[in-house]
């Protein structure tokens, strides 16, 4: 009901045109001379438990170390660990230690894991998700196995496979859906088994005839897998949006409350490979935007430096560009293009620097009108600028999903989303304190 509340989404301008830059092009293959493996836990930024040291020879897919929670870190190429280097980490936003592996380009692989087929139990599948280090490929890198832990008790009835890819420029999921249909279906079957779900939906946007053609016979291959469409809007790829659009269900915190699990298409494909014994060492990423000479999809080993990929594609266009890992809407631009591609990144957007003519806030309410979680970004911004913490708490900025739509839509070109994120940071600290006080009060 958008009379009293918000629209919640927006047809971004030329969203299809931006995708055309890389869509349908041949996937290029790039082998860098060196890759740089960060030896810290991407979640907690603590050093990982190392199995190797400098000077060792590693093989493709060899476990270099294990994170705090037991997720392994793999070597993406075969070669020698030549040195240790402190480099910028795009996920953590600061400089951390990396191991540089010299790529001998011989693709010496380690012994693959044991092949599991559909007879495997749910526990085995979840265990394999964990030991193959599978993380959500949507861009956030949430470990997949956590979604499936104890899934059988949560009454999951549907798996939603997210192929929406609503960010402008990115096309990797689209390419993967076209190229790896069998693996995708195989992965979905494993997911349904692991969660005990009866149905699965492959969700993608309307207006892709090639995908429609490719998936029209899906129900004849597996009658419990269906295709569902969502509107071609942003952020249609958001979990809540998909669950609401396809299943007409809402939830408070996790999709499991609505008896569903949402996974990216690439996650499903990687799961199928993991069950086959392969771990993720290479991935296809979209390198696009008007700041790069030859926008295309590139197959690279993970932990390749962004600058190497851009050089492979002919270098930057223009003097000043912004480089962001992922799409241009959500992901934060990096200040150092020597940062590496992490396993869960699906794109590299390079755009010329924006020159924004920022005007005072018009108070038009367009941000409030478009916020998909129904926040009032303009009010949050005002409260933040006035340092009014009570008002900020009343406006609940911690619900922000960081989609960037408020900044996008702002006619005065104010970085509204930046203010909301700052307010979110401030209030979430206070929120935790309040919750702690409540707990103490109960005791």
């Amino acid at each position: 009901m958008s009379i009293f509340t918000t629209l919640g989404h927006k047809h971004l301008y030329r969203i299809q045109d931006t995708k055309k830059l890389s869509m349908g092009k041949e996937v290029l293959k790039f082998e860098p001379n060196e890759v740089f493996v960060p030896v810290v836990d991407p979640g907690s930024s603590k050093p990982i438990q190392l199995n190797v040291s400098i000077g060792d020879l590693v093989k493709e897919g060899q476990v270099i170390g294990t994170c705090e929670k037991g997720t392994p870190v793999f070597a993406p190429v075969s070669g020698k660990i030549v040195r240790e280097e402190t480099m910028f980490h795009a996920g953590l936003g600061r400089n951390v230690r990396h191991f540089a592996i010299e790529n001998d380009k011989k693709h010496q692989k380690v012994e693959p894991l044991e092949v599991l087929d559909l007879k495997a139990s749910a526990e085995q599948i979840v265990e394999r998700m964990k030991e193959s280090g599978l993380s959500g490929q949507g861009g956030a890198g949430f470990p997949t196995y956590i979604k499936y832990l104890g899934a059988l008790e949560k009454n999951i009835d549907t798996i939603l496979i997210n192929g929406v890819e609503c960010e402008p420029f990115l096309t990797t999921d689209h390419e993967a859906m076209l190229l790896h249909k069998d693996e995708l279906i195989h992965g979905i079957e494993f997911m349904m088994k692991a969660a005990g779900a009866k149905d699965a939906y492959i969700v993608y946007k309307k207006g892709y005839p090639d995908l429609d053609e490719c998936y029209k016979d899906i129900e004849s291959i597996n009658p419990s897998i269906h295709v569902a469409h969502v509107k071609n809007v942003y952020p249609a790829g958001w979990e809540r949006f998909i669950v609401k659009a396809v299943l007409k269900r809402t939830y408070d915190k996790l999709p499991a409350e609505a008896h569903t699990i949402v996974n990216n298409v690439t996650t499903a494909i990687l799961l199928a490979r993991a069950m086959n014994g392969e771990v993720e060492t290479h991935k296809v990423i979209t390198v696009s935007g008007s700041g790069v000479s030859n926008p295309s999809n590139v197959d690279v080993p993970i932990y390749t430096r962004a600058v190497d990929i851009v050089e492979f594609l002919g270098g930057y266009v223009g003097e000043s560009v912004s480089v962001s890992f992922g799409g241009p809407m959500c992901s934060r631009g990096v200040m150092d293009d020597k940062a590496v591609i992490l396993p869960y990144y699906n794109g590299l957007t390079i755009l010329p620097r924006m020159t924004l003519n920022t005007l005072p806030c018009l108070r038009c309410g367009a941000c409030t009108d478009h916020c998909p979680v129904g926040l009032q970004p303009v009010e949050i911004k005002d409260a933040y600028q006035a340092k009014d913490s009570d008002r900020m708490m009343a406006l609940t900025p911690w619900h922000c999903i960081g989609c960037g739509l408020c900044s996008y839509i702002c006619p005065s070109k104010i970085d509204v989303n930046d203010f909301v994120k700052k307010a979110k940071l401030m209030t979430s600290i206070k929120l935790k304190q309040l919750e702690a006080q409540k707990k103490e009060g109960k005791k």
Binding site: I3, T5, Y316, S322, M329, G333, V334, R353, L362, T368
Partner: protein
């Protein structure tokens, strides 16, 4: 390579504040163009030139005022960093273009009538821009809509110049004076719709009558409003909730007072008094309206309610400007009331809004029941002065309060040709005291002239007409006429009057029918003898 680290997102909407404002300017310019065309066709060259000049004066004054406000800071910046500022004039102009003073100027000019002097316009614009906008911090920080503030400022300071088509210094046109269609109507009682001031419903719709410069062109404003909603220049919630509230109130008043022509009454209520102009151009000003969707609806409902409250119960019929100012005042309150997410507790919020609306409707019913609905009845006393001349004293509104009765007592001598039972001449001795009767007087002259076979276009040749046919011996006290104008009405060269109907369709006010009533009673008296 230089890496930019401004915050995400890295793609931005192509829409911009400047674009929105330029579209708004385009819409306003269309209204301005319509006004120019109307004043050139319906008025004369001077009218048309004033329609052009008014806007030019207001826009230039607004821009110069804002530039003067920017000047000290710009000079300081220029001293510190000459290269950044560059050409100081261009820099100031650029600042002004992004401060949108010209929008305030054009809206203000369209909200004022053409008859104002240039210095009045300049003073009004300076007051609006300097006090209401720049002192609050410039664009984006003002609490009240500056154009509306300016309009009310002008109404208070230069209210006597609000002549709607009267042009200072041009004698021939001074006769066309008087209040607007709406206040005329309000003065006569709301159920007199079909007989107000020579203006038909179609005229109201296309804007073929005089009001403020821009607010009369209803059809054009509706079209522009729809285009603005489609182009996201204005928020439909504000305009729609405002117009719906006004419509509902008008319907209630119509129903409670039992007006005969319900549909016409409602349409005329919606088309007069600048409701549409306010709904499209003034109330929707984003700076002074709430930000949340529901807040916008409440804001519109509130403004609509105040508009109709002032119209039906207040002293002046034009409540739109005041209601917008009131609504601007409660905007921060509305914004503060909306906490959390707009999707939270939707049912509760919707029911609260519904509750407020219902409450307003109930209050409306209560107050609108009081609006006078009685058709005036006339008392008349006919006395025989001589064989062919009869004196008649008419008291219109005899059924209304006592204190009104002497206020509008008409005293006239009617000369009759007894054999042919027609009127030879009419001499008005007293039109009754009170301001605002100048137009009624003109109405009399016009109506009479119709029955004399000399139907003239409004406002033209009135002098000649009145000299020839009707004699007014007593200048009208406190009327908007000056003694100078009245000296023309002294001739006694009359032709024959035929019997005229009591209720004169289209173009007569009740006071005018008072004259007609008196004449007819004399004719009845002669017939009865």
């Amino acid at each position: 390579m230089n890496l930019a680290v401004n915050p995400a997102p890295y793609v931005r909407s192509k829409n911009s504040t400047l674009k929105i404002m330029l579209m708004l300017l385009g819409g306003l310019a269309l209204v301005w163009l319509a006004a120019i065309i109307y004043y050139f066709i319906a008025g004369n060259v001077e009218d048309g030139l004033f329609a052009i000049l008014n806007v030019v004066i207001c826009v230039l004054t607004a821009m110069v005022t804002e530039i003067l406000f920017f000047l000290p800071k710009t000079l300081k910046e220029y001293k510190e960093n000459k290269e950044k500022v560059g050409n100081i004039c261009l820099y100031l102009l650029k600042k002004e273009i992004n401060s949108f003073g010209y929008i305030t100027g054009i809206i203000l000019a369209l909200l004022l009538p053409v008859g104002m002097a240039w210095w009045q316009l300049v003073f009004t614009t300076i007051a609006a821009v300097a006090i209401c906008k720049m002192l609050f911090g410039g664009f984006g920080y003002n609490i009240f809509n500056p154009a509306i503030f300016g309009r009310i400022f002008a109404q208070i300071c230069f209210g006597s110049s609000f002549n709607y088509g009267h042009i200072e210094g041009i004698q021939e046109f001074e006769v066309f004076t008087g209040p607007t269609v709406l206040s005329n109507w309000a003065g006569e009682g709301w159920n007199t719709l079909t007989s107000f001031s020579n203006v038909s419903l179609f005229d109201l719709f296309i804007g073929n009558y005089r009001g403020t410069l821009g607010e009369t062109f209803s059809l054009l404003i509706i079209v522009i409003g729809i285009a603005f909603v489609v182009l996201h220049v204005i928020d439909w919630r504000i305009s729609c909730s405002y117009l719906l509230t006004c419509l509902l109130s008008a319907m209630l008043v119509g129903a409670v007072n039992g007006v005969s022509d319900f549909g016409t009454f409602i349409l005329a209520q919606m088309l007069t008094g600048g409701i549409l102009f306010g709904a499209v151009f003034c109330l929707t000003d984003p700076v002074t309206s709430p930000t949340s969707p529901l807040g916008k609806i409440i804001y519109g409902v509130f403004a609509g309610f105040i508009t109709m409250l002032i119209r039906f119960m207040g002293s002046g019929a034009e409540g739109v400007a005041y209601s917008i100012l009131f609504a601007n005042m409660i905007t921060p309150l509305i914004d503060m009331c909306f906490k959390g997410r707009t999707t939270d507790k939707l049912a509760l919020k919707a029911s609260i809004t519904g509750g407020i609306c219902t409450l307003l409707i109930l209050v409306s019913c209560a107050y609108m029941g009081k609006v006078s609905s009685a058709t005036p009845t006339y008392n008349s006393v006919v006395t025989e002065k001589s064989a062919s001349v009869y004196n008649v004293k008419v008291t219109p509104f005899a059924n209304q309060t006592e204190k009104d009765a002497p206020y509008v007592q008409i005293d006239m001598d009617v000369e009759v040709n007894a054999s042919a039972k027609t009127v030879v001449s009419v001499t008005v001795n007293d039109t009754g005291a009170g301001g605002g009767y100048g137009d009624y007087f003109l109405g009399v002259v016009e109506e009479m002239s119709e029955y004399l076979g000399y139907r003239q276009d409004k406002g033209s040749h009135l002098k000649e007409l009145s000299e020839t046919y009707v004699k007014f011996e007593d200048p009208i006290p406190f009327a908007t006429f000056r003694a100078l104008d009245l000296q023309y009405y002294s001739s006694t060269n009359y032709t024959e009057f035929s019997k005229v109907p009591d209720t004169i369709k289209c173009g007569a006010t009740y006071t005018v029918s008072g004259y007609m009533y008196g004449i007819n009673r004399v004719l009845d008296y002669v017939e009865g003898k």
